[in-house]
Amino acid sequence: MTDAAISRHQARAWLSTAALSRLVCGLVLLLSWEIAVRAFAPAYVAKPSGVLAAIPRVIVDPAFLQATGITLAAVAEGLAIALAAGIPLGLAMGRSLIVDRSLRHYVNGFYAVPMIVVLPLVSLWFGYSGAARLATIVFAAVFSIIINVADGARSVPKDYLEVASSFRSRRLRAMVDIVLPSATPYLLAGLRLAAGRALIGAVVAEFFTAIGGLGYFILYNSRTYKHDEAFVGVLLLAAFGVGFELFVATSTRRFLPWYRRDEHAN
């Protein structure tokens, strides 16, 4: 065998042991969950076999599909608003000392506020409606976008901007052509955080205001002791959370291969 063939063989062997140990660990986790519920918990409590049996029922249930659609649409809309507001603000903060110093404490402060405390306030302002949920999502998402875009705009290499200004490029032009592209990896890191927070925001808003959506689907089904059905909703939320992580990670690697994700992102 050649060296390449040997290392390929080793890689494959390693991969299969990794896959195997993942499978074994997964099975052990599921099995201990199943046994624990069967031994100690009432019959209505969600267990792997029950959830598995509920999946085909739930995913064709129009109520479930509609709830999922509503929540996802609200998250997408909220993220779009947060991006539209957050990118210009972040760029301005990253490139202008005055803007940065006057806004930084507010942005950092609002970012540190646990988003869930605004629920009583937004439900006071917008009523128990979709608008309250949208406001919660935007509040949850916008500050991590602003902070990350500002970080990105600040880290643009000086040389680039000097070249641009010596070629008499206008400031706005340089902003769009130089600052924004080099802040993109940061923007993606911010978006990754924002999406996770937006999802949480949507769910808590639905818990709080009892308006229709995936969060309310979970709440309603668990209250009526259909925990297996409710748990399918949790699985879907987890899938969205993981899916977005993976999407951002792969698109950063694919489109911005020179960039290594920095560790300090929250």
Binding site: T17, A18, S21, R22, V24, C25, G26, L29, A41, Y44, V45, A46, I98, R101, S102, L103, R104, H105, Y106, N108, G109, Y111, A112, V113, P114, M115, I116, V117, V118, L119, P120, L121, S123, L124, W125, G196, L199, I200, V203, V204, F207, F208, G215, I218, L219, S222, R223, Y225, H227, A230, V234, L237, A238, G241, V242, F244, E245, E263, H264, N266
Partner: protein, 254 residues
């Protein structure tokens, strides 16, 4: 010289102070012109805050919240860190469990609250569990991430020189993973705070969460703003603390 220093300090801090004043003025003016059901001026919020403090309500409820938060967070660190370190050392186990930790890290834990309510009811225990679930996965996830960053060569060299297990931990495992763990602790502080309020909202109503709920049910907008202000300041202070902890340990990372 002196005037220069003063000038520099003024340049640094003036925008911050001005923006703070401008924000306060904006709040005051907007509050005076808005319907009191929607927005109350800063001055009224502060008066309400003083009333809540003077009556002892705020202090008692804040203590209640703090107990919940600290218990949950302490449990999360006490479980997440040793478990993460164990996984760091036992490679086969780490490879197997890693993907599940990643999934749980990305899952919005709020979605589990209805189940916890149905199973465990309204006591202190279920609320601690909520804070714990919010906080434990960042600690675990980051500790594992740190374990992955240890170059296998380092462990091989340590082995080749017949270093004992305890020396290996002291010299290689801990210095490489602890900084990552502390990043996890910082994230856990932020998430734990969300968990604390979520538990107080959706399980039995206690602590600062209860104060907000009562205020909003009584249409006491000033009270709502006052408590949000307090929780916000708490959030900022805790985030500072988290950054401080993280940076203290980051010194020996790279």
């Amino acid at each position: 010289m002196r005037t220069q220093a003063v000038q520099a300090a003024l340049n640094r801090h003036a925008p911050f102070v001005l923006s703070l004043l401008a924000g306060a003025a904006l709040w005051e003016i907007a509050g005076r012109n808005a319907s009191p059901a929607f927005l109350v001026p800063l001055s009224e919020t502060l008066v309400r805050l003083w009333e809540l403090t003077a009556s002892g309500q705020l202090g008692a409820q804040a203590l209640d919240s703090a107990t919940l938060f600290v218990t949950g967070l302490a449990l999360a660190v006490a479980v997440g860190m040793p478990l993460g370190l164990l996984l760091a050392r036992v490679r086969a186990l780490r490879v197997g469990i890693e993907p599940y930790v990643m999934i749980l890290y990305a899952t919005p834990m709020v979605a589990l609250i209805p189940f916890i309510l149905a199973l465990m009811g309204f006591g202190f225990g279920p609320k601690v569990l909520v804070v714990f679930l919010f906080a434990v996965f960042p600690v675990l996830y980051n500790t594992i991430e740190g374990a992955r960053s240890i170059k296998p060569e380092l462990i091989e060299v340590a082995r080749a020189y017949r270093s004992s297990e305890s020396a290996l931990w002291r010299e290689v495992m801990l210095p490489y993973t602890l900084p990552y763990t502390m990043t996890g602790v910082r994230q856990a502080i932020g998430r734990g705070l969300v968990g604390m309020v979520a538990a107080e909202f959706f399980l039995s109503s206690t602590g600062l969460g209860q104060l907000i709920m009562t205020a909003s049910q009584n249409f006491d907008t000033g009270g709502v703003f006052a408590i949000i202000l307090i929780i916000g300041l708490l959030g900022v202070a805790l985030m500072r603390l988290g950054l401080f902890i993280e940076q203290r340990f980051a010194r020996w990372r790279n």
